[in-house]
């Protein structure tokens, strides 16, 4: 919508008026002094970031923001959320409107370099897929030649779509809309034959927005790699380190079998790796610039990665996604944390 452009313009202006000394720790110190994290999230994507019935933000992306707050302030609630459209997200981060962008954003080379962002490790490995009405009886994305396809603007999705159809010598008619709600509306009203996005997002849309979720199927092909990762802007390595290691901490906790329920008992564990992780042996917290209890606070208040996944998008949620790529490396997935030492 117009708002997107407005925000882009405001962000351009913000870039123009912001004067900040170029030194490491700018964001880190500013966040610490402010007492809360300004986190950029999706405007509403069930399972990733959406407000619940009481107005509290919930979801996998939201939990990453909460985990960073738990590490930094010992309180997962010290977060303020800025819902951002695909259009607004990068300028909002570049211009300092948000400290952390945790908004199902694909990690790509251009974004990591020319757009001035740093990506923390992926919190969700995804791939782009296609959703169609079941009554069309389609079995494969190769049958989509000539289809009309609804897609949200300003996403890697738009580019993958064009690449896929070009490489398979097929044609399609894109309908490109900015607001996610309008894209969904166009698809469910029959304006398009196909809705394309990351499959997790398709599952979320099908569960939350379809008039009847049973009437829609997601085709088997994944046409791209979509590692969804939190991002920070260039210029503050300390802040980047913290965000990165908060994500690793949730993975490491799961790998060590520490959950929000068992974390108190784990404090007495004799495993030195667990002792280092939970701050029984000091040192790790100091290295990332926060208190030694940081991982304890993350796990106690937010949970380990497995808990975060299951609660928001996995078997305990309406989305019912499989762990798949998002299982720990020890269980055949891609989730791997470097050692905490």
């Amino acid at each position: 919508m117009k708002r997107g452009l407005m925000v882009a313009a405001v962000a351009v202006l913000t870039l123009a008026v912001t004067v900040g000394p170029a030194r490491a720790g700018t964001t880190f110190d500013a966040v610490k002094a402010r007492g809360f994290i300004q986190c950029g999230t999706n405007v509403g994507l069930a399972g990733f970031s959406s407000p619940d019935s009481s107005g509290r933000w919930t979801g996998l992306d939201v939990d990453i923001c909460r985990a960073v707050a738990a590490a930094m302030f010992g309180d997962a609630e010290k977060v303020k959320y800025t819902p951002l459209s695909t259009q607004q997200r990068f300028t909002a981060l570049q211009s300092g409107e948000v400290d952390l962008l945790s908004r199902n954003t694909t990690w790509t080379l251009t974004r990591d370099t020319a757009n001035g962002l740093h990506f923390a490790p992926a919190t969700f490995y995804d791939g782009q897929g296609f959703m169609v009405a079941k009554k069309l009886g389609l079995k494969s994305a190769r049958e989509l030649d000539g289809a009309t396809i609804c897609v949200q603007t300003g996403t890697t999705t738009e580019l993958n779509l064009a690449d896929y159809f070009r490489s398979h010598k097929m044609t399609f008619q894109p309908v490109v809309i900015e607001a996610l709600s309008e894209v969904n509306h166009a698809f469910f009203s029959g304006r398009c034959d196909v809705l394309t996005s990351d499959t997790s997002q398709l599952a979320s849309i099908r569960a939350a927005d379809a008039p009847n979720p049973e009437d829609y199927v997601i085709l088997p092909e994944l046409i791209s790699k979509e590692p969804l990762a939190p991002a920070v802007r260039h210029g503050d390595d300390q802040w980047f380190d913290l965000v990165r290691w908060v994500v690793f901490a949730t993975l490491e906790a799961e790998e060590k079998g520490i959950t929000s329920k068992t974390v108190d008992a784990a404090l007495t564990s004799s495993d030195p790796a667990v002792q280092r992780l939970l701050g029984v042996q000091p040192g790790m917290g100091q290295a990332v610039g926060v208190g030694d209890k940081w991982v304890y606070n993350i796990v106690k208040q937010v949970g380990n990665y497995g808990e975060i996944f299951q609660r928001n998008v996995g078997k305990d949620s309406p989305l019912k996604l499989e762990r798949g790529f998002n299982a720990l490396w020890t269980q055949g997935g891609l989730m791997y944390s470097p050692p905490f030492r």
């Binding site: 870039l15 123009a16 370099t113 020319a114 009309t148 300003g154 580019l159 064009a162 009203s189």
Partner: protein, 387 residues
């Protein structure tokens, strides 16, 4: 200091500060310096911040492949084209909807404006209801409404309505048959342009008005293209839309996005133009109409020969601003997915991350279009004014 000295000092000050011309110059210089300074400071800051974040800058991205598809193209386009070509495609889409919107809104507005003055109670009240309802609802909501009406209320392509043979109406848009491309149609188009130019030239020939009665002018405009078409073999084959796979193939498609945007813009701007036309007509002195009636002119002729030419002088300046509004409002297209220049550049901004360059291009485009239209309308206004 004696009293006299004090008076002298204050006079000396007054002589410098009291001079309105000097003071004016000083204030203007200060203001100009402040503006230049502010802009320079903003630009330097932006450059500095971009450099610190190592964010790419410059317009170099325009020559790189865009890698995204655009839904509607007036010129051949594909994902392999450059950002510059994608920009051009978007610009042409904006101009397309703008040009069609200007013509249709003017026609609709004029008709409604005249209808509001009708002595028929029903006609004038209906026109009033239309104007008041449409003028007071935000355009964005109207666009959503039209888009929802087209996509929700119309059937899918397989159950498409066929109001006329070969014309199909569905939630994929309106499909129309077009003549199969043939040099004869190209020649006919050329002849049409030539005829219109010739008629306009003869009409405008101030020094020695060329006697050109209206039937001769019409004959020329209609006859020349028809003749060109007949001479080149009168090809009559039509490319009729037909169902194939997911959708209709062949013919020409007016997409739901284009239709919704055009409907929204025309109906919204039409309401404002109606009020401008009505006020223009009402501003023409009643005595003019009465005098014309006393001469025995019919009411149609009175409108055409006496009232409208005078009303036009009052209508054109506010009409210009409505035209500019329509063009600028076309940028709301992004909300309903019509690929206008704003929508395309929005995508480009996202893919390249170069917001400053993209926003600058968008502003430049609208500035150039608006100033050109404004200049054209001012020229027209100067031409029809009383001399």
């Amino acid at each position: 200091m004696s009293a006299r000295d004090r008076v002298r000092v204050s006079v000396a000050r007054a002589s410098w500060w009291g001079d309105p011309r000097l003071r004016g110059v000083l204030i203007q210089v200060l203001l100009a310096a402040a503006v230049v300074g502010l802009v320079g400071w903003l630009a330097a800051n932006a450059a500095d911040n971009l450099a610190r974040g190592s964010i790419a800058t410059g317009f170099g991205f325009l020559s790189r492949p865009a890698n995204f598809e655009i839904g509607e193209c007036l010129i051949p386009c594909s994902a392999a084209d450059s950002y510059a070509r994608a920009f051009l495609v978007g610009l042409l889409n904006t101009l397309k909807v703008g040009a069609a919107g200007l013509v249709l809104a003017t026609v609709l507005g004029t008709l409604i404006g005249i209808a509001r003055l009708s002595s028929n109670w029903l006609v004038s009240r209906l026109a009033m209801v239309y104007v008041e309802a449409v003028r007071n609802v935000p355009l964005l909501l109207q666009l959503f409404l039209w888009y929802a009406v087209i996509t929700e209320a119309l059937p899918g392509p397989r159950q498409a309505l066929a109001p006329l043979p070969g014309v199909f109406l569905s939630n994929r848009g309106m499909m129309l048959p077009v003549p199969v491309s043939d040099p004869a149609w190209l020649a006919a188009g050329g002849a049409l342009v030539a005829a219109v130019v010739a008629v306009a030239a003869m009409r405008c020939w101030k020094a020695r008005p060329f006697p050109l009665p209206w039937f001769a002018a019409t004959g020329l405009v209609v006859g020349a293209p028809a003749l060109a078409w007949l001479v080149l073999g009168a090809p009559a084959a039509l490319d009729i839309p037909h169902l194939a796979g997911f959708n209709f193939r062949g013919g020409v498609t007016l997409s739901p996005e284009l239709l919704a945007l055009l409907l929204g813009l025309v109906i919204y701007t039409g309401a404002f133009i109606a009020e401008i036309v009505r006020s223009g007509i009402l501003a023409v002195d009643r005595g003019q109409t009465e005098a014309a009636r006393a001469l025995g002119l019919s009411s149609g002729l009175i409108l055409r020969l006496v009232v409208l030419p005078q009303a036009l002088r009052l209508i054109v300046p506010p009409l210009t601003s409505q035209y500019l509004n329509l063009l600028k409002n076309s940028s709301l297209a992004v909300a309903i997915g019509y690929p206008d220049v704003v929508s395309v550049l929005d995508t480009a901004i996202n893919q390249t991350g170069q917001a400053i360059e993209g926003v600058t291009l968008i502003m430049g485009v609208f500035l150039v279009i608006s100033l050109s239209l404004s200049a054209l309308m001012n020229w027209y206004n100067a031409r029809i004014r009383l001399r």
